[in-house]
Symmetry: C2
Subunit: 127 residues, 2 copies
């Protein structure tokens, strides 16, 4: 899609994966969790779902999403089915068995990560 010169900055400020570096490394976990919940989703749908859940705060860029999906597929964690809807191509992704198992691990890791970060940020409470 083309974007005119003076719109680029405005758009990219609200379009990228939120300022902070914190989201780095969390994309795969997000994708896998959403697929676990929904059964199957296509790429664009994932970006919209994440935007909705985070009330527009987290916007997954296509340059991050599609390579991530391809990689998860290559690792055998996702299966893909192509479908044509309204004369437009969709690639529906779903977790493989291996992917489902791995999702459990990743979610456990996410919980650990959050606990650890909270321990650092809020040393008074011990999690």
């Amino acid at each position: 899609m083309f974007v005119k010169a003076n719109e680029i900055n405005l758009i990219s400020k609200t379009t990228n994966m939120k300022n902070s570096q914190l989201y780095k490394g969390s994309l795969n976990t997000i994708i896998m969790k959403l697929l676990e919940e929904k059964g199957r989703m296509y790429g664009y749908e994932i970006t919209q779902k994440v935007k909705e859940i985070t009330q527009g705060e987290l916007n997954i860029t296509e340059g991050a999403l599609y390579p991530a999906l391809h990689k998860l597929e290559a690792e055998g964690l996702l299966d893909v089915e192509m479908e044509k809807v309204d004369n437009r191509l969709r690639k529906y992704y779903k977790l493989t068995e291996k992917g489902t198992t791995e999702t459990v691990n990743r979610l456990a890791e996410l919980e650990d990560f959050i606990k650890n970060m909270q321990s650092i940020v809020n040393p008074k409470l011990s999690y």
Copy 2:
């Protein structure tokens, strides 16, 4: 130095194949939060403190830590003082005024990040 089986580096568990990329991007926030709390710390002390807080789960590597400290200093967020203790060099870092302000922002971002991740992982509860 060797890293034992169960420890996470700033990214991955060495032997365990478990791939927790989640810590990627959180190092600066960790450093700044600890400095805010402690007043001043030196690099090695930071690694030990994080290890202690996370009960050995998060092990910051030197190759990640020192460049991060140098960069924060270059950005004017940290000040450094050299001291010789027991005939060994220590570089004590502390937050500048700018760094203190920035720490507030980064901690707010971390909170947002955690909230968003929890919204994705646990869609039933709305945070």
